[in-house]
Symmetry: D2
Subunit: 347 residues, 4 copies
């Protein structure tokens, strides 16, 4: 692994990046005077207003500290402990949250194996048995990641199909949108076309991976589900006292399309990276590059050599498949240097 | 209540203040390049080093987002669900965390009524019955707040007495130190004299109320208790991805005694405020002013008049007792203006 | 303590008694052939019918194994984890269930000190603050024990007052009726006069302490609350596979007034016991004897001497107050022998 | 489905049977006098002694009400909430307990698809990644069912291999032995050869499915794990007040080999049933018949016709595979009548 001692560039995750300068300036600007704690302030009101501009007036928005917090608390608002949450086997809630959903909601996760990280109605149907039978957990949520953990995206009509499928069966649709911005840019879609307009019930809207310092939003399109969310957030230890500092970050992100610019840049970097790697034998790109992640098979013997210089994760050891993430601050120079290193290494 | 629309000063809570300029500059300085996420970085290593300078080498330190998070996760590391946590009736964990401790740990809180927010061994003894009897929750933790929610403090020997009392009975001592800095300054004590040296097992070390933007630390003096804490933190949704930005804040706070300067200022403001108010009939100061809180009886008819200009909370409606908190950025001018308003109002 | 080796009689608890012969015969009669498991059987249908005869048609009834199970699962059906349950400090759910309510529901219990084990609206009012404020658990349940753990009872109008008080404030009334039969007999009231007719929402109806081998019932007067209870019961590990054997016990208990006869006998024994003890100086009866429990101060030095021959519990060590429970199978001979022993001992 | 109105025989589950006469007589015999509640009695001491005769002195035994209770509480004693439990996809804890393990332990279940319900070390290895990494739940338990839900059994050496595999990796081996007796008889093994001697850590020992009215045992071969189990049992609402009535049932079951006789009979009935069905075209037996379950493909159109007369479950709708369970009281006549019906129906 690359030494932590020297400055370095990373493709490990979009959360290895720092904070966008505009976001940092917003934090500075908000640092004046006394402001009521816990969100009853004008900064928060304004940030929620920005969300309503993007997603429509008929929503409720709550800020929390982290993506796991957003997912877990959002799911809690939608479930009782005897419910089940259906998700892809690769879902962040299933593999990367240390069992936080089970611990906090009590629910079982029912997982679907996929090749591309995307759930399809056909794959969900076999899980919908034992409905009304007390021996079995009751499926209540379909949770999708947009973009997925495999760097792929759901098109609006795919989401609508899942939402309709869910609602016809008394299920709800949850979206882990840690990278919703990247998906929207990849699809050339407005945020609401991927959420409000296609039947999403609850959304985790990612900030940290798109240039914030910290902060995620839980957005309720189904306002009834939000009725008691403030208690869930507090009991879940995710009510920020100096809330204004989350709020102004989101305000900055949703102003002058910063969210879009950041995501577009990251996505473009991923495209370039994938194109360049695809030219190098024997590297093989394994997933469509639809957001800001590139998945590629890199023969096992080269991996540690590359990791000496760049952080990145091996995604699938058996296949020697690696994941390379780009971010708002990835530069073309980063990519060219990395690509040169790969070329040199595999020769 | 004062309008949210106009700039204002507040005595509602030390978390109505903003961020100390040195902390903000530290955030800016840390915003360079890519850094491994989740705490395996030099900023975090360095910040933990600062804690060791203050509290000794034989500790483990973990950063979390919020004070409720620090308390709840620290308690989880010390308990099984059939344990009980003994605390003052006024403890933050008992009244201000929306049941987060019960929800996350499963434990019952056993509370002791106090006049000054301070637990004493004599008050705890009656709760230590049914030990080993399966019908009853098993007392396992004594949790104290330092400074207390009433603005009072425990002297080192008082803490040591409680720690010894606890350890002789197979209990552990937890300290909610959201305002530990204020207590230390009030007592002219070093931080370790209130913790390491007197037998504390686990500490929530407060940052946000002493000038940070966000971030608290869970400090383990009993390292065995920390063995699995990283899993508890992650499962509790409190693992920050861009951890460096919590770490550098603590680094700043623990550099050049910023923690002490901030707390000393807040405490001094509380002293002045209390002295001035004490001169005004019929205002009556109800608690010793040992940290940065002032408790005072203000006849009920004056309260809304004062609240039109300043945020503050009525602590005890029956007594018309109000709580006034000062912070690192409270100014003498703030106090003089408030005192003038009080004088004018009560005339 | 009395040796476990020799046959003995006990005033420790009504659950030290065995099974009423009619209940045992019912178990034998039900032991024929194959019956669908988990309650979809005629025995269960019939037992539920008996409950409806007593309590009205508009109820839902579910059988569980134990009293703690009945309380915890009933409360779960009425609450979310950020709710609070208000109860007397002496309530079984507070002191005798090893924190099961907190663990399973996530709720905090808010307790009221009482002298006689009975909640009064006046005592509850001070707990109803912070409503709608996310920092505080939200009171949702008033839970009373009928008869109380102190052997006292609520008159129908007292229950109605509490139910009205609750419903006016969006709270619900839960009754731990482990000894409801004893209360009804003590009050010369029908079961429905203490429940259906006075606004109870959910009831734990006790069987084990009134002559069953095992089995308690959760009765919902508010059927909406029962909608998902079958899942709660199963997830709470309280769905009996051979359900018929709980059902027939309740069928027997609710047939030909067996519940009433058993309770009436136990209550009468308690009356006699109390009358006899009251004549003995320096024994002092401390609570009204309204059900099947007798509380009495017995000077500390006599207690171990008596306990050599009879099981019973010291209720309050400071006062040397003991609790003596009678049951459906306590005999007058048991009491006369015990009274003689007391007289001999205190002389 | 067969009418509940008429007496009938069932192959739905071994828990549709009643209580073995010797068990019922034991219940009657125990119904004398007063006995200390909650297990501190001679009946319980004696029953635990019977377990020690079978399984060795170095065990701890606790009785609970139900099989789900035994599994969930046993797993709780072995885990922290950030642990994972590895089991077969078909495991009772995974599909038939309404998420009780997740709710009570907080743990995630990691499942392995199998054809015969049996876990193998090779299938477990891929789940043992991310050890020590806080993002991922930490595998801690391998849980097997003996006999499996598919009617198959683990040979002693297979269990030993799993136990060794587990212990080498700091995992523990849990056995859901709801049908351990059937497995032992099928393997002509003593109970300890399947447990004590091969490294099992914690066992759910089934009673209800082998002729008891109610009652299961949690057996700890690793006594350290039992240290606090009494609190877990009480907090889990599974401490029986009139414990003697569970204890005497187990005493009867473990006296004069009743457990073995009951299981041997059920197994023999399953053998006969399978042999007879195998002769009928187009019925096809799909699993080895090693305990008391028979799995068979019955063409879909015949299923409802058979279910009019006999309870049984369709196990796999896609394959039209049904499950037929025999019990201690299944008669050869039951089987012959059922086989005749099948023959008539498929003609």
């Amino acid at each position: 692994m690359v030494s932590r001692r020297k400055p370095s560039r990373s493709f490990a995750s979009d959360n290895n990046a720092g904070v966008h300068p505009r976001v940092l300036r917003a934090l500075e600007r908000a640092n004046v005077g006394h402001v009521v704690a816990y969100g009853d302030d004008l900064y928060t009101e304004s940030a929620v207003g920005r969300f309503r501009e993007q997603l429509g007036d008929d929503i409720e928005v709550f800020f929390v500290f982290s993506g796991t917090g957003a997912n877990v608390l959002g799911l809690k608002a939608m479930t009782q402990p005897y419910h089940a949450v259906i998700c892809a086997e690769t879902a962040h809630i299933n593999v990367d949250e240390c069992g936080a959903p089970e611990k906090f909601t009590g629910c079982k996760l029912l997982t679907v194996p996929t090749t591309d990280g995307k759930l399809r109605a056909e794959d969900i149907k076999p899980l919908l048995h034992g409905i009304g039978v007390e021996h079995h957990v009751q499926p209540r949520i379909i949770s999708i990641s947009q973009a997925t953990e495999m760097g792929t995206v759901y098109r609006p009509e795919e989401i609508k199909t899942l939402a309709d499928f869910a609602h016809q069966r008394n299920l709800l649709l949850h979206v882990d949108g840690a990278r919703l911005a990247n998906a929207a840019v990849g699809l050339k879609a407005r945020l609401r076309e991927l959420t409000t307009d296609v039947g999403v019930d609850v959304l985790s809207f990612g900030g940290t991976k798109n240039g914030l310092m910290y902060g995620e939003a839980v957005v309720f399109f189904n306002r009834n589900l939000a009725a008691d969310f403030k208690f869930i957030r507090k009991q879940g230890s995710h009510l920020a006292s100096k809330m204004r500092f989350i709020s102004v970050q989101f305000e900055a992100l949703l102003t002058n399309d910063l969210w879009k610019k950041n995501a577009a840049h990251a996505n473009r970097m991923a495209q370039i990276l994938a194109q360049e790697l695809a030219k190098i034998r024997p590297i093989e790109i394994t997933q469509k590059v639809e957001a800001n992640g590139v998945f590629a098979i890199v023969p096992q013997r080269y991996v540690p050599l590359l990791q000496k210089e760049y952080f990145f994760y091996v995604w699938n050891e058996a296949m020697s498949e690696v994941r390379l993430m780009t971010s708002f601050d990835t530069t073309e120079e980063d990519i060219q240097r990395f690509v040169r290193l790969v070329k040199k290494t595999v020769k």
